[in-house]
Symmetry: C2
Subunit: 190 residues, 2 copies
Amino acid sequence: MATAQKLANLVNGVNVDDLYATVDAIKAAPAVAKFRFRIQNEWRGASRNCSRVDSYYGAGLERFRQCPFILSADEPSILLGTDAAASPVEYLLHALAACLTTSMVYHAAARGIHIEEVESAFEGDIDLHGFLGLDKNVRKGYQAIHVNFKIKADVPDEQLQEIAQLGTEHSAIFDSLTNGVPVSVSTERL
Amino acid sequence: MATAQKLANLVNGVNVDDLYATVDAIKAAPAVAKFRFRIQNEWRGASRNCSRVDSYYGAGLERFRQCPFILSADEPSILLGTDAAASPVEYLLHALAACLTTSMVYHAAARGIHIEEVESAFEGDIDLHGFLGLDKNVRKGYQAIHVNFKIKADVPDEQLQEIAQLGTEHSAIFDSLTNGVPVSVSTERL
């Protein structure tokens, strides 16, 4: 008995049919595009704290992970920590790296562009005069971030640059970081 | 035989003498304040990638972790991933939470303010019309981030608000995210 089995249309590991089905679903019902991401953080003394990543809202539903992800943070000993986990400023670089890479890979897949390998290096400069309040002309945050992508793909040189631009053009973190985000903070007694 | 042993001057778990020694070291030699943080990322197919957190430059030296930290990233299945790790946009919220908390705790310690407990919740809104390129009037990144801090400390109400402000006033990630950071990207062939 012959069976008709449809093969998944994978490019860069991304199911391109599912990607276009998502686009169609959003065009049919724009509210499907609304997502709300969340974390809860607990201080564990000095430089240590942990975030719990579990629920989010997306495509019209509250959604939960099968098991939550726990993300730790610490500082190196030279910054008075215990060096038991990556530091907040390194997590920011990871968020940027991960988002640029995924954005590039998804949008290349949507265009049928096959990517074989991607490696990237991220560097950011901070001057502690800002954080410590020693010089009000020095910012507290990153003064600049420098990114280098290395991409293996069977494409001409100019298309290699275009592939990297698919990341910077679409990445949520690249946009958030280069253009800024309004952050509101409320405080209450525990 | 009597021994004179100096007790560590800990507030909120932070060694305040070491904190002021760092300030003095920077005042004596401003270049001590310069730090460069780094990560290297590798794509592992589709929505999966990993960052390696190891070396950084700080206080005049190249420094290395005893063992590097590996940070994974993935997307939930509704965003075409395998949900094996937190997503980039959740890592950004963790970076912000961790940095606000540590900044608050360190600066409270420097002022001799004792904090007993800190919990915080972070939420951020994203509309996929931006990422997917379906509406150029919708941004790709977070539209807004909302933060709620719960602080346990034996202080009057107005000082509770001041404690939280120590975080927003000094945090490297809060500054980076609310004011933006220039990010330069170069691309080469692997």
